[in-house]
């Protein structure tokens, strides 16, 4: 894969940072506005997939190769599980919100959700990593075929 036409490449170069930032924003404010870890992760993975499509997979491999994506995937799931178990140890129940003090949290304040933002970030990494792994493996099949 050598990439697409210059138009696509240029547009991708302009747009991809914003897509990445938007994905991170969606994941970070998931406890306040519509969105959350899953949509955020999908958007982040979409950004990397866009770069792969436009430039070929060599460009992405420097930042986010298959191995690091699947490591991210596993680590994020483990950290989600750790949050659940920490809730079990400190909060009295699996996934209990053990950080939050007041209820309900204040609206539109970033640090008001207790453990929710941490869980959302973990889910964002998990979804971003695994979606990219899915895409990369399917692209790998195609690369084998072309040889």
């Amino acid at each position: 894969m050598t990439g697409m036409s210059p138009i696509v490449k240029t547009v991708t170069r302009w747009v991809s940072p914003f897509i990445l930032a938007f994905g991170i924003y969606i994941a970070l404010t998931g406890h306040l506005t519509p969105g959350g870890g899953f949509p955020g992760g999908v958007i982040v993975a979409g950004c990397f997939i866009l770069i792969t499509l436009a430039y070929g997979k060599e460009r992405v491999e420097g930042i986010f190769d298959l191995k690091s994506a699947s490591v991210t995937d596993s680590l994020a799931s483990l950290s989600f599980l750790c949050m659940g178990l920490l809730g079990y140890v400190f909060g009295g129940g699996f996934l209990n919100n053990f950080i939050q003090s007041g209820f309900p949290g204040k609206a539109f304040e970033l640090l008001s959700g207790g453990n929710m933002p941490i869980i959302n970030i973990a889910i964002g990494f998990k979804v971003g990593g695994s979606l990219f792994v899915v895409f990369a493996y399917l692209a790998l099949f195609r690369a084998i075929e072309e040889e």
């Binding site: 191995k67 483990l78 699996f94 996934l95 919100n97």
Partner: protein, 501 residues
């Protein structure tokens, strides 16, 4: 304590592929999974017979998700953990030549997590999610060898399983639309107050089709023989021993008995589906040449017994005969436990046979008792149990089902059960004659491969096959099986336990 059942396998399931990214340590993975299943077995034995609920996230039941431990789910937990432990022990030797074992054991653990979740959860949608966790892992595990046949079987299983899941999801959607709740106990309170029962009947039908696809009842069975014969042997044992029971029969009966309070005609439908699967599965099994395919069709047939027992229990409950109903339900649950023991024994045994002869074709092999006396003996015990020869466990559970059918006046059912037992005996006699007795036939590829790692799990399961017959004694039955049957029969007790009414 209850979330640990899901959290431990989930953690192991994510940890092993992570370690594999850096280092391939086959023996370490196998030992980790063995320890994990051993720990879970100990936990489920400690928890056995206890009745408790666990509120996930601290929300009270109708709002939040809750885990329920009652007579039935604690029995199912022991069955899952026991079979998983033996299978992990078997896989330690058997799978050691394969590649990507981190992923294999990771998926194995995820499948366990899903099954524990299905067994414990008290929420319909949560049950669907866990069901999918277990099912997706099993789709991938069936195609683990990545040969053309394995992939084809996996794809077939995947399509049928996905359609089944969609039917279940549609059923859940309809149930939520008409009842307004997802908690099984809460549904059972609200379902009688709903004025328009047609949607509830429709969702019941969808549940029967959807879970029927997962449990391979007879019109929906075509994936099972392919999937079970193509999967790696430990996975065949897990699929046949626990997965189709937990995902199919257990989940279905939990929703129908405890949630929907058995809508009209469902017990009759279950009974006849069970009778049909039992009979047709047995008939097809008679003509099979491949040992694993024969075992797979026999699984369909034996699942029929379980469904039949539960369905008859439902019929007697609606006729107002609680004592007979309890007996029929005990028969179904008893057969579930027995089938888990001897069918996983037979599947593991078939893996051993394949190791010795290099093929599973019954017409090409024979005389296993002379080649490997220990595995021959365990295999004999397995076939005798499944065909219902008296001192072994299979006989006692079939006896309970037949007694319940006759006592309740369902003579045609009792006739079908007896006739199917004869068919079962016939095709296992065929296996006996061709595989165990007679001269050694076929090429013995590697005799030394039957190491203790292969036959110790077989021995454990064979001892279980003999020991489980003791459950027939009224004292032991009252402790182990009766609470499980009553959990299905006394829906109000379940509601009381969960909602604290």
């Amino acid at each position: 304590m209850l979330p640990l059942f899901v959290a431990i396998p989930l953690g192991v399931g994510f940890l092993l592929p992570l370690i594999e990214e850096f280092r391939e340590r086959t023996q370490f993975f196998a030992v980790t999974v063995l320890l994990e299943t051993g720990l879970l077995l100990a936990l489920s034995l400690v928890k056995f017979g206890e009745e408790s609920i666990y509120r996930l996230g601290g929300w009270r039941p109708p709002i939040g998700i809750n885990y329920v431990l009652d007579g039935l789910s604690s029995l199912i937990l022991v069955v899952i953990s026991g079979i998983a432990f033996v299978t992990a022990l078997f896989a330690m030797t058997y799978m050691s030549k394969y590649e990507n074992l981190g992923k294999f054991y990771g998926l194995f653990s995820l499948m366990l997590a899903g099954m524990y979740g299905v067994a414990l959860t008290g929420d319909v949608f949560n049950m669907y999610v866990y069901l999918e966790v277990a099912a997706i892992s099993s789709y991938a595990l069936v195609g683990f060898n990545r040969g053309p046949e394995e992939l084809e079987a996996s794809f077939k299983y995947l399509i049928m399983g996905a359609v089944g899941s969609i039917f279940i999801l549609l059923g859940i959607a309809m149930l939520y639309g008409s009842v307004g709740s997802l908690n099984i106990a809460d549904i059972s309170v609200r379902v009688s107050e709903v004025s328009d029962q047609s949607f509830i009947l429709l969702s019941t039908a969808l549940f029967i089709v959807g879970f029927g696809l997962k449990a391979a009842f007879i019109p929906f069975h075509s994936w099972l023989p392919d999937a079970h014969s193509s999967a790696p042997t430990p996975i065949s044992a897990m699929l046949s021993g626990v997965l189709i029971k937990v995902l199919g029969v257990y989940a279905l009966s939990r929703i129908l008995f405890n949630g929907l309070n058995l809508p009209n005609l469902t017990p009759e439908i279950l009974t006849w589906i069970g009778a049909g699967s039992m009979f047709i599965g047995g008939m097809i099994a008679l003509g099979q040449k491949d040992l694993k395919r024969l075992l797979a069709y026999s699984s369909i047939s034996q699942m029929g017994y379980i469904t039949l027992g539960l369905g008859m229990g439902g019929i007697f409950m609606s006729q107002g005969k609680p004592a007979v109903a309890t007996l029929a339900l005990i028969g179904g649950v008893f057969h579930l436990v027995n089938h888990a023991a001897y069918k996983s024994l037979l599947f593991l045994f078939s893996g051993g046979v394949e190791r010795i002869f290099g093929t599973r074709d019954l017409s090409q092999i024979g005389g296993i008792t002379r080649v490997s006396p220990v595995s021959g003996a365990t295999g004999t015990i397995g076939t005798l149990s499944i065909s219902g020869i008296p001192p072994f466990n299979g006989f006692w559970s079939k006896l309970v089902i037949v007694i319940a059918a006759i006592w309740g006046g369902l003579y045609p059912i009792a006739g079908i059960v007896l006739f199917t037992s004869a068919i079962t005996l016939a095709y296992y006699l065929k296996v006996q004659r061709e595989l165990f007795l007679g001269e050694v036939a076929g090429e013995i590829t590697d005799k030394g491969k039957i190491s203790p790692g292969i036959y110790v799990p077989l021995l454990i399961l064979a001892v279980c096959c003999i020991g489980l017959g003791l459950l027939y004694l009224p004292e032991i039955r009252g402790i182990v099986l009766k609470p499980a049957a009553l959990a299905l029969q006394e829906g109000s007790e379940y509601t009381k336990l969960v909602l604290g009414l």
